[in-house]
């Protein structure tokens, strides 16, 4: 394989990988904090893209639209937690999962209802159009921006969770919900904000990918299993784990696509299987 093809694959892998990491971190926060595998995560990811699309159409521009998308999905996340999930906290966690599954259907169908079943393409903002000469090849500016921006965002999340007081509260809530509550932390508010944050991260991920892959109602369904693989590989409740796993999966998938395209999708799950067998608690998980 030529160097330029390899570098292309690796760079693409980092782009998708950093988005996977972002989505995985969001899922991991929700999983760790609320103990729920959020089956609506993919739909929220897709909605982020659709919100950006709609906002850009409404002349808010790319950056304004991005913020609108993030806020929109965050608000939706808050509503979901407050109106739905909150009622199920005393009940077996399976039911909360099923609620998110039902919501994913509603959201996806509603999306198709509003924007139609076919997909759209979207041009990146002018300042980020075109490519950058990296020596071996010319790589799209926009994708480099994703890597940078999302990388910073992910790093920011990690710093927030590991280094700030609020982050400590989140970590406490993840580790021992009852104890955190006993220590006077308003755990319910943490849950609402946590779910909203997780949802927002998914929405931002979807929005950022809009100029790269375009938009289609199925994009939510497509990212769901990958997000799960990332969280399983990274380790339950471990945000650094999700980051590492996201990058790993992204690069791996990209390389596989270059090497053996038909097996690329299935191989991601083979990676998951290998991960479970060799290291059941995940790369950086505790249990």
């Amino acid at each position: 394989m030529s160097v330029s093809l390899l570098s292309w694959a690796v760079l693409n892998g980092l782009v998708t990988g950093v988005i996977y990491a972002l989505t995985g971190v969001g899922l991991s926060i929700i999983l760790g904090l609320l103990n729920i595998p959020n089956f609506a995560h993919g739909a929220l990811y897709a909605l982020g893209a659709y919100f950006l699309y709609a906002a850009a159409q409404a002349a808010l521009g790319f950056w304004g639209g991005l913020i609108a998308a993030a806020l929109g999905v965050a608000l939706l996340g808050m509503a979901i937690e407050y109106l739905g999930l909150r009622r199920l906290y005393g009940v077996h966690p399976d039911y909360a999962l099923l609620l998110t599954f039902g919501l994913s259907l509603i959201l996806t169908e509603a999306t198709i209802f509003v924007w139609g079943p076919t997909g759209f393409t979207f041009q990146p903002p002018l300042m980020l159009a075109g490519g950058v000469n990296l020596g071996v090849m010319v790589y799209p500016k926009y994708r480099l921006m994703i890597m940078l921006a999302t990388g910073l965002l992910v790093l920011g999340c990690w710093l927030f969770v590991e280094r700030t007081k609020y982050g400590a509260i989140i970590r406490a809530g993840i580790e021992d919900r009852d104890m955190a509550s006993a220590l006077g932390i308003n755990i319910r508010r943490v849950f609402t904000l946590g779910f909203a944050a997780g949802a927002a991260l998914a929405g931002i991920g979807g929005a950022l990918m809009l100029p790269v892959r375009g938009i289609a109602p199925t994009m939510g369904v497509e990212i769901m299993p990958v997000a799960f693989v990332v969280v399983v590989l990274g380790g339950l409740g471990s945000l650094p784990g999700a980051i590492v796993a996201g990058l790993l999966v992204g690069v791996f998938q990209s390389l596989m696509t270059a090497l053996w395209a038909p097996g690329a999708d299935a191989s991601v799950f083979a990676l998951m299987t290998l991960g479970i067998l060799l290291r059941p608690q995940g790369l950086l998980g505790q249990r």
Partner: protein
Amino acid sequence: MADRGRALVRLVALVAAVAVLPLFVRPVVAAEIWIFAIAAMALNLIFGYTGMLSFGQATFFGIGAYAGALMMIHWQAPLLLALAGGAVLGALTAAVLGYLCIQRLGIYFIMLTFGFNQMFFFIAYKWTDLTGGEDGLPGVPRPPLALGPLHLPLNTATRYYLFVAVVFLLLFYAMKRIVDSPLGLICRSIRENPNRAAAIGYDVKLYKWIAFTIAGAFTGLAGVLYAMMYGIVPLEAISWITSGDIVFMVLIGGLGNLYGPLLGAAGLKWLSEAVSVVWQRWPLILGVALVLVVLYLRGGLVEALARLREALARRRLRPRVREESA
């Protein structure tokens, strides 16, 4: 003893329902209801009774369908052998996947079953030589039922329906025996309190694995029946959408109850038939139904019916109460 009487009544009602269903819906739809009822019963065993939520039952449904179909297409396998093949392959796959998935905590289990389902979906999607990929696997024959002196062609929709109905009833009886057996009670105890189940001497992982494998066998067999229905194995048979459908049926019908999955299968199939003609976005209704059931009616249709029966009974016994309190 009243229990036995009521159980018998329910069984008779079931057989009657099976017999008259084709009068209300097309035989093809009716057959599909019982086929999915089998798959739903299987999920009920591992979820309703044992507490394991599998979001990947389509894995076994699809693998069973492809296996049975390929056996009939390439080896001219007779009907019962193909059914057995689907069941065996469903069970084997479940045994392997079950071993991998059950080791982990509950949350992982769900995500792993979903993940593996996706893996097999992509394999089926890309391995077009074997499965036909997106276009599906066509040319699935419907061999006659040949058992000793009996030789019954199943070429009409009605005849096939009868065959499916009989297979369903047999499997229903088998499931009933499993549920009534010590295994059924052990599974329920695992759902209630896995820690105590272990403390009194049960290897919880082993029993979970056994239940999962049995469910795989049932589901694989259902897949073969599905393949023979339209003569084709569509890719959807192994997709997560089918997995989701099966979860719906169990939940909306009523978890942990033998008849729940049947109600759920009937309800879902009827809904999809009736509503999809009018509105293409009918899965939205499904999503809404699921949300409502999860929030307000966790016992599903079974609970709804029970509440209805109670309300009617109360009305009959005490018609004066309302006047007194007014």
